[in-house]
């Protein structure tokens, strides 16, 4: 059989070099269409949003440049201020509750091996049925007369409540529904993290005398920090941007108790048809999400000490 490689000398011919180059560029060539698409669509939307936010529009979408006027009116609107505050409370509660729940579920699944595969399949179901469906289900569960929760409370002789009628309770139900929606995926991310920890490390810590709680806070948490960061990004992104769940659950009520920024944006942009001010709110949400994500990335993923390669001086 003739040999495929040149044996006469070691230097490569021009033809071979071109072939090598072609081979090396193929992976990049294959990524480019996707990259252009992603950057194009995202970039267009974001850029278009910024442009829109400094314009006033009328019903026929005629634009007039107004500078920061839209920003000034939005920020001065007490209804916006209230919705922003509400969003921050909503996000903080959702993140706290959501991450604690995800962590508890992930730890449970980590230790109860047999349920793991089943759950992995199940955990994506909420994303198939969409936030609207989740909200509709929560409405059934929390409806004042005939809802499941009140039925159970009644059966065991406890007082019932108007879950979706009372401003505070409705807000809490919205937080719960939001957690129900986002926890499964966050659980998966954390479970993946837990499974990367070498069991020998726990054995070593057991011999070193660490208790369960010490092990959790001093070994587990630091070791899954990158995954914790990713699930925080997910949880806070979902909570900031949540719209469908609240829209279908309470539509912002009662008495605006659940009117978060995304609901307010819907009202401004699609009910009052003020696209300029709507775009301002988009910029607000985008900025919050970006800042939060960068914060998590920096503190959880990039600052992961295990990735440090060079020795400190």
């Amino acid at each position: 059989m003739p040999s495929l490689t040149k044996t006469s000398n070691n230097s490569t011919t021009a033809r071979e070099r071109i072939a090598d180059l072609a081979l090396a560029t193929v992976p990049y060539l294959m990524v480019i269409p996707g990259l252009i698409f992603v950057v194009g669509v995202l970039g267009y939307a974001v850029f278009g949003g910024f442009v829109l936010s400094v314009h006033a529009t009328d019903m026929f979408l005629n634009k007039t440049f107004v500078g920061l006027q839209n920003y000034i009116s939005v920020f001065n609107d007490p209804r916006f201020q209230a919705s922003l505050l509400r969003t921050i409370v909503f996000v903080v509660l959702s993140i706290t509750l959501g991450i604690v729940m995800s962590m508890v579920f992930a730890l449970t699944l980590y230790h109860v091996g047999f349920a793991r595969r089943f759950f992995r399949g199940m955990s994506l179901v909420p994303y198939f049925v969409s936030g609207i469906a989740a909200a509709v289900m929560f409405r059934f569960v929390f409806t004042t007369s005939g809802g499941f929760v009140n039925y159970v409370l009644q059966q065991i002789g406890l007082p019932t409540a108007a879950w979706l009628g009372d401003p505070y309770l409705a807000f809490m139900v919205a937080v719960l529904a939001n957690c129900w929606f986002m926890v499964p995926f966050a659980t998966l991310i954390l479970l993946g993290g837990l499974q990367t920890v070498d069991r020998d490390i726990y054995d070593a810590a057991t011999i070193d005398g660490a208790s369960g709680i010490q092990m959790f806070f001093q070994i587990t948490i630091p070791m899954i920090k990158p995954m914790l960061g990713v699930s925080l990004i997910w949880v806070s992104y979902i909570s900031f941007s949540t719209f469908d769940i609240i829209f279908a659950l309470t539509a912002g009520g009662p008495q605006r108790a659940t009117e978060v920024v995304s609901m307010y944006m819907y009202r401004i942009a699609f009910l009052q048809l003020d696209f300029g001010q709507g775009a301002v709110l988009m910029v607000v949400l985008l900025s919050f999400n970006t800042v939060m994500s960068l914060f998590y990335l920096y503190y959880f993923v990039l600052a992961d000490r295990r990735l440090e390669k060079e020795a400190s001086p």
């Binding site: 070498d198 020998d200 490390i201 054995d203 070593a204 810590a205 057991t206 011999i207 070193d208 005398g209 660490a210 208790s211 010490q214 001093q218 070994i219 630091p222 070791m223 920090k225 992961d304 000490r305 295990r306 990735l307 440090e308 390669k309 060079e310 020795a311 400190s312």
Partner: protein
């Protein structure tokens, strides 16, 4: 009273319905360096982890320093363990890795500082204390793992294949260091390995395990020179012992061994043997040599493997394959015919049904 330091009594272990250890009995003396060897899956790690308190005990007893530890927690057993994967805490510096156990035990800070400094100087880690495990070489990580065991000042060191992730050269170096450390500290040590050379060179006593049972316990050379059964004979030694099956025959008042192909090999006088008795005839490769004698066994060489300091050869004796080992340079090439002589004073004879030494 010379009581043993670590003692296993009828120790058993099951995982689900699979019996992993079948009644282990073993006594280890204070300051002894005991090496557990055996094929993969025979239960070495399981035994070590039970000693450490990382696995439960199904029945039987483990005692350490005259105290039954079955119900004692890992951290209170007076043991320290070095893992094959090192199991360093990746997010902690070397210093924090070393001090983690002491901090968990609420050791006063100044004692921690002193222990770390002394362990670091013994293991040449002083320059590395601020580094993270990811910033260390394999050998350095190995040292940190040992340092972490050292600062616990244990009564018993447990090593589970600590050198198997190191390259050949580093392994030889660390082997000597561990041995030197043992000679200095005299801490009782149980050391698990796959590596026969490690077992032979490091151990005061070797424990050969197979399938959840102890096959033989003894000093390294004692086991090598007098394997008690076929398993040990076959397991220890590289290249492995030649184990030939055949039967005993009488030739005018003399005993010989007849292979299945009719070729006869010499037997020493042994009153335990009967005519026609089936036996396994074991001879180590280094006890088979070339000879000029025309009565030597006629073989064809099939494979010659020069390893530098010795040469491994495979020879064909009318259909039966023999391994031999020569410390001299061999000019022969595959296909050559030669004559071999067996050193009958070095034979190992086994009963093929029980596998026991005759």
């Amino acid at each position: 009273m010379a009581t043993s330091y670590v003692e296993y009594r009828e120790l058993t272990k099951r995982f689900g319905s699979t019996q992993i250890l079948h009644g282990i009995n073993l006594q280890i003396e204070e300051s002894e360096f005991v090496v557990l060897v055996g094929p993969s899956g025979c239960g070495k790690s399981t035994l070590l982890r039970m000693t450490a308190g990382l696995e439960t005990i199904n029945s039987g007893e483990i005692s350490i320093a005259d105290r039954v530890v079955n119900r004692v927690r890992a951290k209170d057993r007076g043991i320290a363990m070095v893992f094959q994967s090192y199991a360093l805490y990746p997010h902690m510096t070397v210093a924090d890795n070393l001090s983690f156990g002491l901090k968990m035990n609420k050791t006063p800070l100044e004692r921690i500082t002193k222990s770390i400094a002394s362990a670091a100087s013994i293991l040449k880690l002083s320059q590395l204390l601020k580094r993270l495990p990811a910033q260390l070489s394999g050998g350095q990580r190995q040292r940190v793992a040992m340092g972490r065991a050292l600062v616990r000042e244990p009564e018993v060191f447990l090593f589970d294949e600590p050198l198997s992730n190191l390259d050949a050269k580093l392994r030889v170096g660390m082997r000597a260091e561990i041995k030197a450390l043992h000679q200095r500290l005299k801490t009782t040590t149980i050391y698990v390995t796959h590596d026969q050379i490690e077992a032979m060179t490091m151990a005061d006593r070797v424990v050969v395990m197979n399938d959840g049972r102890i096959e033989q316990v003894g000093a390294p050379l004692e086991i090598y020179d007098r394997p008690e059964n076929l398993f040990v004979a076959d397991f220890l030694g590289s290249p492995a012992m030649n184990l030939l099956s055949g039967k005993v025959v009488h030739n005018d008042g003399r005993m010989d061994f007849e292979l299945e192909n009719g070729i006869q090999l010499p037997l020493p006088d042994n009153s335990a043997l009967r005519s026609d008795q089936q036996i396994i005839y074991g001879i180590r490769p280094e006890h088979v040599a070339f000879t000029d004698d025309d009565n030597g066994l006629p073989v064809n060489l099939t494979l010659v493997e020069p390893a530098g300091w010795e040469t491994h050869l495979h020879a064909d004796l009318s259909g039966i394959s023999l391994r031999l080992l020569s410390v001299e340079r061999v000019g022969a090439r595959p296909g050559d015919s030669a004559r071999l002589a067996v050193d009958t004073s070095k034979l190992h004879l086994f009963d093929p049904t029980t596998g026991r030494r005759i």
